[in-house]
Amino acid sequence: MAQVEVRGISKHFGEVRAVDHVDIATAEGEFLVLLGPSGCGKTTLLRMIAGIETPTSGDILIGGQVVNNLPPRARKIAMVFQSYALYPHMTVFRNIAFPLKAQGFPREEIPTKVEWAASTFGIEKLLHRKPRELSGGERQRVALARAVVREPSVFLLDEPLSNLDAKLRTSARDELQQFQRRIGTTTIYVTHDQVEAMGLGDRIVVMKGGKVRQIGTPQEVYNEPSDTFVAGFLGSPPMNLLEREDYIAGFRPEKFLPVSVYDTGEPLVKLWLVVHRVEHLGADRLLYGIMRDTFPNEKVIVNIPSTVDLKIKTGEAQEFAVKEKDIKFFDRSTGLRIEPRRFWGTR
């Protein structure tokens, strides 16, 4: 097991700064998720850690040792690509055995190791098949088995679930996490899917434009976003961001509910909302509306759980409220989080 650390790492492709001065350190055995929209530099960062891409500047440390000049095979890492990159001309057995052979592992021990790795992912029956004869889920397991077979000190996973259909993805997510908990190998996982990131990560690194925007536990990045990008990127529907003259105020759609729902003495901020449209999503209701009196140009989304059984009329102003502590404030020009202040516009 090993820690992974990157220090001041950058990667420029010509004029483009794919990764721009990033510092990250994993804890021992941590499941760290790199999250961001496509082109944010997360995959490039992962590839630099793997040794496939050479950093323009900065250091990469694995297990406390600088590995900048080591080729991928010397880094004791395993990587699962988005495409799974199974060797199409080899059977599943030979695919899984490949890293062992490539490293000169004693020949007679290979079958035992392969069978162990295959049984970990329940694919013992597929060993004689070729990759093209496998389903998407089976391929993913083969790729994982190939990654664990030589017991690497770090796992690097590049969107390994994105080629699975939605149903399979949920169960695969669960298996992946259980497996990681069991073997306790430091794992760096790249995804653009915030649900995956929230569900899997011990910590999430939110990236944009080659820079780290926030590092924190799923709760931290969700509840205490460090800037408007993180606030908007995580959560579906995203945080409502209301622009004022000197700041931006944000609150989550599920924290903004009809006044009648609240019964505590907590300080509330009440706002009148005209609902234009209601979407029934089963577990939730989404309301789209505007605050006619206070913020006439801003659209607001409200997420009411189906447990709240309240009649909502469209086209009429109704009073909604958000707890004062659930409002986050951001600087208008930089988008960065600022100290809580009095929410202007309360009546």
Binding site: A50, I52, P72, R73, M79, F81, A85, F98, A102
Partner: protein
């Protein structure tokens, strides 16, 4: 109505194809006839040339195989072909890989540049090359052909292989590197096995192109026992200035058909490379 039109269209199709097939194959059919006809039958202007007016004979074949250098020509052709294949593979595989994978924008330009050298005709090069060959003492030596034939196999095969290598996903190579191979190892142990059909194509083309070659062989080789089939047959099977038509036709036939069969299997790939990827 519709039925008649359909039959007419079908008939038209078969007619067109038959005419063209006949047009393409007629000289070879004519070779078959001449190969097995007796000289007397062959050289009687009044005999129907399309029929065997006298019983068929194997005399021409016997003469060709046992009394001429035909088998030597075949052997020479094989030697030259095999050597050219080896040289071509040794040079084109690394070059194509390098261009396909590591070279950025200049790789594409360089690749096109290399391909264009394929279009520099032998008729321009053979004069200086003949002088080089004589200065190096390679006149009348198969080595001159072995050295020169890669001038057309390397550019073409490099270009063709480049296309093959580009179809191997980069991920797989990177995976191999993560799995414990060096950059070179990933190429040798993963990319090459995956490009096996491409490599086979190269082998076939390098070989058939050398079999087809005429100008260089004509320029550099005039000693009978050193000739390859494509010049040996047309220049040697003449007695005085009289063509020995029977053996000549037999030789042309035997040497062309196997090449043609093999070539046909790979023709589509040849064309794909030829048209510079304009056609997928």
């Amino acid at each position: 109505m519709g039925g008649i039109r359909k039959i007419a269209a079908r008939g038209g199709l078969y007619t067109v194809v038959t005419i063209f097939a006949f047009f393409g194959a007629f000289p070879f059919y004519w070779m078959v006839i001449a190969t097995f006809k007796t000289d007397h039958d062959l050289f009687s202007p009044l005999n129907n040339p399309f029929l065997f007016n006298e019983p068929a004979t194997l005399d021409h074949l016997k003469l060709l195989l046992f009394e001429t250098h035909f088998l030597t020509y075949l052997w020479n052709t094989f030697l030259v072909g095999a050597a050219v294949v080896v040289i071509t593979l040794a040079m084109a595989v690394p070059a194509a890989y390098s261009l396909a994978r590591w070279a950025g924008s200049w790789g594409e330009a360089l690749g096109i540049g290399i391909f264009l050298t394929y279009l520099v005709p032998p008729t321009i090069l053979f004069i200086p090359l003949s002088r080089f060959a004589s200065q190096m003492g390679l006149q009348e030596s198969l080595w001159s052909l072995i050295l020169i034939y890669p001038t057309f196999t390397i550019p073409f095969c490099t270009w063709l292989l480049m296309g093959f290598f580009k179809t191997v996903p980069k991920d797989i190579e990177e995976q191999a590197m993560v799995d414990g191979l060096s950059r070179l190892g990933a190429m040798v142990r993963v990319v090459l096995p995956l490009s096996i059909s491409g490599l086979l194509t190269i082998v076939v083309f390098a070989f058939t192109l050398t079999m087809h070659e005429f100008i260089y062989a004509l320029t550099f080789i005039s000693v009978s026992v050193k000739k390859t089939v494509s010049i040996g047959v047309p220049t040697e099977l003449v007695r005085g200035d009289v063509f020995q038509w029977g053996p000549l036709m037999a030789g042309a036939l035997i040497a062309s058909i196997p090449v043609a069969v093999v070539y046909t299997f790979f023709l589509d790939r040849f064309i794909a490379g030829f048209t510079m990827g304009a056609i997928k």
